[in-house]
């Protein structure tokens, strides 16, 4: 009896995990004139990518996203951040994502992008 053989699942077949982006409002502490510690919230959110802060964005819909120094994002990560901020700001797309220009020009590749390396023969 012929049986249908299923090819083993490969890494390429497995669904890639969604890029996790969170926004967290910046809440700081200050001392009042009596020395008591009080808290105050600012109209700015920290942007966390996979649980680590990578930038900040103001609460006004459409304002640009500022990345922290040393942060390098792949195109997919940048897209995930823009999508998360757009969703949080009622569908208004942020004007830009800005990072301090780097003197090095390197391109961050997404995991599924091909490199230019030759295959070993």
């Amino acid at each position: 009896m012929a049986t249908t053989k299923k090819s083993p699942a490969t890494i390429a077949d497995k669904p890639k995990p969604e890029i996790q982006v969170q926004l967290q409002q910046i809440i700081g502490k200050f001392q009042d004139k009596d020395g008591r510690i009080r808290r105050a919230a600012h109209p700015v959110d920290s942007i966390l990518l996979r649980g680590r802060e990578v930038g900040q964005v103001g609460h006004t819909p459409g304002v640009g996203i500022s990345l922290l120094n040393g942060v390098l994002l792949s195109p997919k990560e940048e897209e995930a951040i823009i999508d998360a901020v757009t969703k949080a700001r009622g569908g208004v797309v942020p004007r830009f994502v800005k990072a301090p220009p780097s003197l090095d020009s390197i391109q961050i590749l997404d995991d599924d992008e091909d490199t230019d390396e030759d295959d070993d023969e």
């Binding site: 910046i26 966390l48 649980g51 680590r52 802060e53 304002v63 990345l67 004007r95 990072a99």
Partner: protein, 135 residues
């Protein structure tokens, strides 16, 4: 928290989103003025009480001049945040944040053999807060 150097620190503007290649961020002191309470009956030492309100100061930043980009030198107040380097294992970096406005901007000077560097001073015009790092 372990001591750390300044590489990786960032200044962000919450509305204008101005970014630059900073080489130096020098905060001003947060001060409060002493009010003298000495009177003719005071002995040994002058006495003082501190003013209720503090002066939050601001900071002076030096950055590489970019002729295509200017800081918000005439902009409205916005939240300005100085974030310390986010160390390995942290989720959020420590921050100082407050409503601020640029009150001084010096365009980069041009000299032989020197990179053009601009400076600006941001004045905190409201309460300044401190945010701890989180893991």
């Amino acid at each position: 928290m372990a001591a750390d150097e300044g590489t990786g620190a960032t200044v962000t503007f919450g509305t204008s989103a101005f970014v630059a290649q900073y080489t130096d961020i020098e905060p001003d002191s947060i001060t409060r003025a002493p009010l003298e309470t000495s009177h003719l009956g005071t002995t040994v030492t002058r006495t003082f009480t501190m003013e209720d309100l503090i002066t939050a100061g601001g900071f002076t930043a030096t950055f590489f001049h970019d002729g295509d980009v200017q800081p918000p030198y005439n902009g409205a107040a916005e939240v300005v945040t100085i974030t310390d380097p986010v160390q390995a294992g942290w989720a959020l970096g420590p921050k100082v944040a407050g409503s601020g406005q640029v009150d001084d901007y010096k365009i980069g000077g041009k000299r032989i053999g020197e990179l053009m560097q601009a400076t600006m001073h941001v004045k905190f015009v409201g309460t300044v807060t401190f945010t701890d790092h989180t893991v």
